[in-house]
């Protein structure tokens, strides 16, 4: 499974490409970029690197505020 952060990076590159191609700010404003402001603040390791919680393995989402 492609890590979510990698997907976000790819999405960011896609947005940059749109900007370079002259996309309007209105089109960009219609996306969900605001979602990505919530994360990456915790000291709890994620992405199955010491993190084998259920949310990253097809189980229910746990209570972490990160991915």
């Amino acid at each position: 499974m492609l890590p979510a952060q990698a997907k976000k990076a790819a999405a960011s590159l896609a947005v940059m490409a749109l900007v370079a191609g002259g996309a309007t700010s209105a089109a960009l404003a219609g996306g969900h970029h605001h979602r990505h402001h919530h994360h990456h603040h915790s000291g709890i390791p994620q992405h199955n690197g010491g993190d084998h919680d259920a949310d990253n393995n097809g189980g229910p989402s746990d209570g972490d505020g990160n991915i």
Partner: protein, 163 residues
């Protein structure tokens, strides 16, 4: 959004047959219903599960210290967007409410449903609770097909949660 859906949230003692799992370096404790078992989770958190005969998850409880930008004020939006960012699909917010009373503080709760990336459907009650010295998230989830059977236990776990 449909705050009446959380009228059942009120402080309740831990049922006598239940146990609890204390979070490390935190005053929070995760209620564990009789017959449930501790499961692996992130460091600093506690998880308990009920597994079916085939090993499938029939009930799930997790307590995690507040980590990021989640707050009592933004919880309704934060939780569903977090689930989407976890690559869950068909995330649907069914109800949310702030200002709910817990034994050791005040909390905000959501009821939502989603489909995991491995096509497993879950419904969850997720609450963020601010206690005197710690703010902690508790998640109570089950597959929709098990909600009628496990819902009362999940709600009781929420009611007896302390942080």
């Amino acid at each position: 959004m449909r705050p009446q859906s959380f009228a059942w949230v009120r402080p309740s003692p831990l049922p006598p047959s239940w146990s609890s799992l204390a979070l490390p370096d935190s005053p929070a404790s995760l209620p564990v219903p009789a017959g449930w078992h501790r499961a692996h989770g992130d460091p600093g958190t506690m998880t308990a599960e009920l597994r079916g005969p085939g090993g499938e998850i029939e009930g799930y409880l997790n307590a995690t210290p507040q980590q990021g930008e989640e707050t009592l004020e933004n919880w309704g939006e934060f939780r569903v967007e977090h689930n989407r960012d976890e690559e869950e699909r068909d995330v649907e917010l069914l109800a949310s409410a702030p200002g709910l009373a817990f034994a050791t503080g005040t909390g905000s709760c959501v009821l939502d449903s989603y489909l995991t990336s491995s096509e497993r459907p879950y419904r969850e009650i997720a609450c963020i609770v601010a206690g005197p010295s710690a703010t902690t998230v508790i998640v109570a989830a089950a597959p929709p097909r098990r909600w009628d059977a496990e819902g009362a236990v999940l709600r009781r776990a929420i009611q007896s949660f302390t942080t």
